[in-house]
Symmetry: C2
Subunit: 145 residues, 2 copies
DNA sequence: CTAGGTGCAAAAGGTTTGCGGTTAA
DNA sequence: TTAACCGCAAACCTTTTGCACCTAG
């Protein structure tokens, strides 16, 4: 069903629904980790041994353009990809490198309160947190005590 | 005076206060544009014709490590650097590529309301907006009307 | 049938690094 | 004096591109 939706969306954007695009899309579904292009490449290779990394990059870009997935960036590290289309922020652990989704609270639906100049049109907002995930924070605390 | 402070801070971090670091630091002071490493390189060359781009990169990293400047990233575009140490967000214009600082409003001191998992330690937060700056937004409107 | 997509290999572009000579402390 | 730093050039790593072949519609 996700594939059906994917197919339709891709077609609506004037692209073809190829095996490669389907597998790249599938590789992100149902996981909430945030794989890099290379990670996706490794996953998809299990289904399509002949796929090339360049094609994975191309597919990821196409899918992003179609709004089926989202690209996530942190510093200049490799791009990561995310199938969670709901509004959310990202958390990057400085220790283990894990990337996780951060859902907004009730009161946090909009980025109210930022003094964007009058006349500005904001089309997108990105919020990211950096620090230590619960596991790594606990490990730190143990070391310090 | 800014230089004096810069000198002290660099020394405190165990680094040397070299001409190159001073000029790189100075190249960012008093401007609120957000130059790339190459932009800084071009500026600093006027003062130190012999400086190399690699040194500019190294200086920018050292200064960032000392907390004297801040690195700003957007997608995988070249890193930009910012001398504004006050808490603020960034706005990236999709049309003209301008990067500007966005000060927080009164009610926006913290990014409260995000459901970070219990036990997480957040050390840094980054907020960025993308869209059209007032000038480009006006241009768009003109085209559409 | 054919425009668009794929695989490959090579290039691009930003950033980092190794090394011999230089300099701030 | 000497460890840190600089300039240079080469390496690195992610991402993009050109081209000949292939395939979805």
């Amino acid at each position: 069903m996700a594939d059906k939706n994917c197919n339709e969306t891709i077609s609506q954007h004037g692209f073809r629904f190829t095996q490669q695009r389907r597998e790249v899309f599938d590789a992100l579904q149902g996981k909430n980790d945030h794989p890099t292009a290379v990670d996706v490449f490794i996953r998809v290779q299990k289904k399509l041994p002949g796929i090339s990394l360049a094609t994975v990059y191309n597919c990821l870009e196409t899918l992003t353009e179609c709004g089926l997935i989202r690209a996530v960036h942190h510093d200049r590290q490799p791009s990561r990809y995310c199938a969670n289309l709901a509004p959310h922020a990202h958390f990057f652990c400085e220790d283990c490198g894990a990337v996780s989704d951060v859902p907004p609270g009730e009161a946090q639906a909009e980025a109210a309160g930022w003094q964007v100049p009058v006349g500005t049109i904001v089309t997108q907002r990105e919020i990211s947190f950096r620090g230590y995930c619960p596991d790594c924070a606990a490990a730190h605390q143990t070391l310090l005590s």
